[in-house]
Symmetry: C2
Subunit: 323 residues, 2 copies
């Protein structure tokens, strides 16, 4: 990670290993293959932006550190569980360049391992000792799974952009908002602060996913751990493609072709190149930056100090990473 | 249901529909196919013994009725979720004579529907508003899934009977003990009462599963909704088979053959007939009756009244049903 992007992590650098230790800890003896699977999943790590959001919000508001660590661990476990089932359903064999669980286990073992990780996530959340948090946690899990079902059944409202935003909310921003709102809930902060921090997490999460979708066109393959343009090839319409096709007469037909995976390799490659050469990339990034700007205004009423500054910096990092 | 077996239900007959309504209720709009799937799963119903245990325990101890209904609904949802994934993993196409979800949906949609039902179960449990209950609930989910993983990986301790009891505890008795213990926890009953009711639920659950396994040999196909001897054919060693093979010199070899599904149809049929003709059926039922007797002693310190009498009767029903 480059020096310029690390500073917001500095405040919580010592706490991240505590979150990871909490994720690895188990309340009871369980199957050794399960522990290996969990260790493998946790080793693939990721950027730990959600834990940083939780820990920074907690420090800014004065939330108990132990509870914040529990929340961060519960959210990462929940995220891990959904990835295990997603990769199985999509037949993905690699994630962040490492073999997925379904590349190593039978489908049945993969389903059950995901279930076990859901159970661990729920147990971590319950152990924090806050009913409002637990209720919110369960609701987030419903939001995520419902979003996946809508995607699986390819239901469309007729408003493609809205469908996209609904999808990335369910998939990504719902967990980001849980990360920030949860930390405020655990402080028993007043309703306004909880809601402001929820909105901040929401906007950061939306921006994060939009940027992720831009990187699928414009990132470096080595860093992504997957080929460029994989969304188009996998039948997924993300913001850059939507914005590009929206203004073209052949847009609806080509969008339908992407969705039904009827593009051949040459057509897919052409579409990816066209999107990349168009202003849809810049327009998508502008959308992400707008989200971050909207998020930042939510921080205005928060206690001034290094944590609030770090949260602002985290927002900037989300749109600036890898560009 | 025969008149003799219905009496213990009389006390809670009016509450069971409230439990079912709670299971159908949803905190938010979700996918219509999901609602149909949930309705289908809930329509298949079952005996509702767990809700009866929760409701009777709650009434006996004076637990708030609303909370008891929430608990009963949460437990049934949790059970439903595990069945959805189990049937998928086992490739079962029928349950209680009705098509399973995986017989109607793609594997991916089945996984996600199970996940959604898990989420609903967790949300129902969280909505009850008791942290000790929520913690116990999450722990039970871990117990169930861990048991399934042990079975999937066919791990053996060397003590076949112990493995069997561990398996049926994880699969069945853990939910029964949650049904009774949970109702006591929600009353904020003292530790001794909580523990006594946990033990009662545990014993009833163990007995229930042993009887279920006996019925796989000795029941009526029409009532079971599956062919007799299906466990042996599916490579599952249950108590009757274990007790029968334990005392035979060719026992270990034949147990291994069952486990690795190397029996042909004639051998499977022969084994089922031998078990049925042996005293292993009676010995298994004696084991179940001992469990119920042990459970009944836990009720001695409970408030005298129609609920305690009904719980005793429920125990008897478990071992006497269908014989």
């Amino acid at each position: 990670m480059e020096p310029t992007t690390t500073t917001f992590f500095d405040l919580v650098r010592d706490q991240i290993p505590l979150v990871e230790a909490r994720m690895r800890s188990s309340p009871d003896q369980h199957h050794p293959q399960l522990q290996r699977a969990i260790d493998h999943l946790l080793a693939s790590g990721g950027k730990r932006l959600r834990p940083a959001l939780t820990l920074l919000t907690a420090r800014m508001l004065g939330t108990d550190e132990e509870k914040a660590i529990g929340l961060a661990a519960a959210i990462e476990m929940l995220h891990t569980a959904t990835l295990v089932h997603d990769d199985l359903i999509d037949g993905s064999l690699l994630r962040r360049g490492l073999p997925t669980l379904n590349a190593q286990l039978t489908p049945g073992a993969t389903v059950l391992t995901g279930d076990y990780i859901f159970a661990r996530a729920a147990h971590l959340a319950a152990s924090i000792g806050s009913l409002p948090l637990m209720e919110t946690f369960a609701r987030t899990l419903m939001t995520i799974v419902n979003g996946e079902l809508i995607q699986l059944f390819r239901e469309q409202s007729g408003d493609e952009r809205q469908d996209y935003f609904d999808r990335i909310y369910a998939k990504t921003a719902s967990l980001f908002e849980l990360a920030t709102m949860g930390a405020a809930l655990l402080r028993q902060a007043n309703q306004e602060i909880v809601e402001d921090m929820r909105r901040f997490g929401y906007q950061v999460g939306m921006a994060f996913q939009i940027v992720d979708d831009v990187l699928d066109f414009a990132g470096e393959e080595a860093r992504l751990g997957k080929p460029l343009g994989s969304d188009v090839r996998n039948g997924v319409l993300t913001l850059p493609t939507l914005l590009y096709l929206e203004r073209r007469p052949d847009g609806p037909a080509r969008a339908a072709a992407v969705r039904s995976r009827q593009l051949n390799e040459a057509e897919a490659e052409a579409l990816v190149a066209e999107v990349l050469a168009s202003d849809a990339i810049a327009a998508s990034l502008a959308e992400a930056r707008n989200a971050i700007a909207a998020g930042e205004t939510q921080l205005e009423g928060m206690p001034d100090g290094p944590e609030r500054a770090a949260l602002r910096q985290l927002g900037k990092y989300v749109t600036d990473r890898a560009f």
